[in-house]
């Protein structure tokens, strides 16, 4: 961004139409980034030409927050951005206010006054306020506060022109908020903090009282100054600040003759809707329906799109093969690069659908109700009600689910949720379960009205759910120990979603996944391909005449067994034996690291069967008929069960690891996830096999 552009920070509470206003002003052309070191999304855009700005204006969209007190990363980043610690100090702050709810919204205005940056209020939702019978006198508010107040209706773009004009000539206006500011800063800060700028001193005091100093980037000197104060003193000062701001808000409201009192006029209609949506019977029923719909959409609506992408990848591979002819380079391109691109793109439909759903649920206000309904159950694990949707999504696919944890504000709780999600039995495990169950369990066996096969499948899902909850509870009480987060959750008024905003967000987040996690997934696919392809088998092995092959079945080895991966699989055999598996399964397990469903294809390669048959009938038969040299069946129901339990727990998915790295900004968490899950998977599989054997199964 050019140094000459005016920098304007856009601040505001959540659910006040800040995003709509940002999209309206910038024409939805913006770049998305991350603040250094934290996972808070940033958006920056330039005021669009349609508003005819008389100068270049860059708008920085701050996270939506109720206050600047650093209780979470969002608020800490917002303050540091306003203070010029992240990027250049903004020349001007535009605060978006919900006109229908001044009594709470003006609190943030008071905090921004303390900061002392030039301020403009965008008084949004004037239409809603007028309709609810609490019109706001914008001119009076401007006079009393000493800053320009521009009425807007972000939904329709009303007032945007006036706002741009006001921003453009802000230096030439003689607004003066020093009177309000002086009242807010009347209380002196204690001696050790007097050297600091007043707003920063207050901000650090609040952080010290809230024990969130680590979010503030406070210097050693500042920390030392704070340490001189007693805990009780800090607490009293911090709460006095809040009371002073609300006293100022009440004074302003009285001065402009605002008559909302303690009513919630904008909530009248929403309260009636809540009569159904958070009803103890209907509310829960509708909640179940909504969640079932969400789950269904990522589980099956995405399927056809994923099919199209997969078909496209197969077609592209075919074109490359046809164009280049057989050879190593062709294999690298098709099985490494093209397959890798496929491994990235195949997640796009699920990610886009999940974010569409989450976006709509948040925009309408239902997400807060869902958290309200289910919080009691999530609190048992020690999590916030908002963790529910990502966890549920984990049954479809961990990738969108992990990205979906961005709605959880506490980083520790986000981490706990992220560590739980891979345990949820995702859709990629299903082909593995289906292959093993259909190959090795009696399809006719029944238990009451249920077939044995479906009960075993159900058992796997139950095991994964119970394990995820248990693991969450353990993390929450050990390395990610933190109190159950307070549920201080606003139930905002219901509103019609703004589809354009939601679609823009879907696009931003999906593109972000492809760009960032996608590169890692692509690289890992190529590396895995190399491990399973090199070294190549000695020439005669591939030159074998089909007739000769049949005549010498004992000599038959598939090319994959010669590769590094194949050799590792064989070397692992002593480890695999206690869980009832042989080296062939070992190789398939290694191959499944690309994606769990690849297990089926890799096992096909090991058995020399092309896995293009939809139902894998030949592979099923091969598994069923495989015999050890002494004639015993190679695979048994017990061995299959042990392997399925392994798949319930194992983190056999490099895409998940790549996304966890992306979201936690470190390799530490994906490494812990991989090691702990694989170890747990091994122990559980060994346990199943050994207990089964002790009970007399083979």
């Amino acid at each position: 961004m050019s140094g000459g552009a005016l920098r304007v920070a856009l601040a505001g509470n959540p659910n006040v139409g800040k995003t709509s206003l940002f999209n309206e002003l910038t024409g939805a052309r913006h770049k998305v980034g991350n603040y250094a070191g934290v996972t808070v999304e940033t958006r920056e855009g330039v005021v669009a030409a349609r508003w005819h700005p008389s100068r270049a204006i860059t708008i920085i969209d701050l996270p939506g927050t109720y206050s600047l007190t650093p209780m979470s990363e969002d608020e800490a980043v917002a303050f540091r951005c306003l203070h010029g610690e992240v990027g250049r100090v903004p020349d001007l702050v535009v605060l978006v206010i919900d006109a229908a709810n001044l009594a709470r919204n003006l609190y943030l205005a008071a905090q921004l006054c303390e900061l002392g940056r030039p301020l403009v209020l965008a008084l949004n939702m004037m239409d809603v306020a007028a309709e609810a019978g609490v019109p706001v006198d914008a001119a009076a508010l401007a006079r009393c506060l000493g800053v320009p107040v521009i009425p807007t209706v972000a939904r329709t773009g009303e007032g945007a022109q006036a706002l741009v004009e006001c921003i453009s000539r802000f230096e030439h206006e003689l607004w003066d908020m020093s009177e309000v500011r002086a009242r807010l800063l009347a209380d002196d800060v204690p001696a050790p903090l007097r050297g600091l700028e007043p707003a920063r001193a207050r901000w650090l005091l609040a952080a010290q009282a809230g024990e969130t100093l680590e979010l503030t980037g406070a210097s050693a000197g500042e920390r030392a100054a704070l340490a001189e104060l007693g805990a009780e003193q800090v607490r009293a000062l911090a709460s006095a600040q809040v009371l002073a701001r609300y006293a100022e808000v009440d004074r302003l409201l009285a001065e402009i003759g605002h008559k909302a009192g303690d009513r919630a006029p904008a909530m009248d209609r929403s309260a009636r809707i809540d009569g159904v949506l958070t009803h103890r019977v209907w509310g829960l029923l509708i909640f179940l329906l909504v969640m079932a719909g969400l789950f269904q959409s990522i589980f099956s609506w995405a399927e056809p799109l994923m099919g199209v992408i997969e078909a496209g990848i197969v077609w592209l591979s075919g074109q490359v093969k046809a164009g280049l002819g057989p050879g190593l380079f062709t294999d690298l391109l098709t099985e490494g690069v093209v397959a890798g691109v496929g491994n990235v793109l195949v997640f796009v439909p699920q990610i886009a659908l999940l974010f569409l759903f989450i976006g709509l649920l948040e925009d309408t206000g239902y997400m807060a109700r869902a958290a309200f309904l289910i919080d009691r159950l999530m609190a048992r694990v020690g999590l916030h009600g908002k963790a529910f949707v990502p966890l549920l999504s984990g049954y479809a696919c961990a990738i969108p689910a992990i990205l979906g944890t961005r709605t959880i504000s506490s980083f520790r709780d986000r981490l706990v949720t992220i560590m739980m999600i891979p345990f949820m039995s995702c859709s990629a495990r299903l082909p593995v379960y289906v292959l093993l169950i259909s190959a090795l369990f009696d399809p006719e066996a029944r238990l009451g009205p249920f077939s044995q096969a479906s009960l075993i499948l159900l058992l796997m899902y139950a095991l994964s759910t119970v394990s995820a909850l248990a693991v969450g509870a353990i993390y929450k009480r050990t390395i990610l120990k933190s109190p159950t987060p307070p549920l201080v959750l606003e139930l905002p008024p219901y509103r019609l979603p703004r589809v354009r905003n939601t679609l823009l967000q879907v696009y931003d987040r999906t593109a972000d996944f492809v760009r960032d996690a996608g590169t890692v997934i692509l690289a890992m696919t190529v590396v895995l391909w190399a491990l399973l392809s090199f070294p190549r088998p000695p020439e005669p092995a591939v030159q074998l005449d089909p007739i000769e092959r049949v005549s010498a079945p004992d000599e038959q080895r598939s090319p994959i067994e010669y590769s590094v991966g194949g050799q590792v699989g064989k070397a692992m055999e002593p480890l695999l034996a206690p869980m009832g598996q042989d080296f062939r399964m070992g190789i398939a397990i290694l191959g499944s690291f690309a994606a769990r469903e690849v297990f089926v294809g890799t096992l096909g390669l090991v058995y020399g069967i092309e896995a293009d048959d939809e139902d894998n009938v030949p592979l099923r038969a091969a598994l069923k008929d495989a015999r050890e040299p002494d004639g015993r069946p190679r695979y048994t129901p017990l061995r299959a069960l042990a392997l399925m339990v392994f798949f319930v727990y194992a983190c056999q998915c490099m895409s998940t690891l790549a996304v966890v790295r992306r979201e936690t900004r470190s390799w530490r968490w994906p490494a812990l996830m991989f090691v702990s899950m694989t170890a747990l998977a091994y122990v559980m599989a060994v346990l199943v096999f050994q207990v089964g054997r002790a009970l007399g199964y083979s």
Binding site: S67, T69, N101, S239, D262, P265, A371, P486, L487, E490
Partner: protein, 76 residues
């Protein structure tokens, strides 16, 4: 001895007298508008008995009973 917001019945109102609890929670509750002197109404209780939905300063805010116990109030 004033009671807390957790003891309200749905539809009942009370005036906040003080906010207790750990520093972070106390600040958050104050900032969301539960300041002494404010009149708060309990709107409803979630289906599983927790959390609670309050009306305060023109908003509906949901708190768990554990947090509502930190807000001392006298019925009005």
């Amino acid at each position: 001895m004033p009671s807390s917001l957790a003891e309200l019945r749905p539809g009942a109102r009370a005036r906040v007298t003080a906010v207790e609890g750990g520093g972070g929670l106390m600040l958050r509750l104050l900032e969301m508008g539960f300041v002494p002197g404010t009149v708060v109404a309990l709107v409803k209780v979630a289906p599983f008995g927790d959390p609670l939905e309050f009306q305060v300063r023109g908003c509906h805010i949901s708190l768990r009973a554990a947090e509502a116990r930190c807000i001392l109030a006298v019925p009005t």
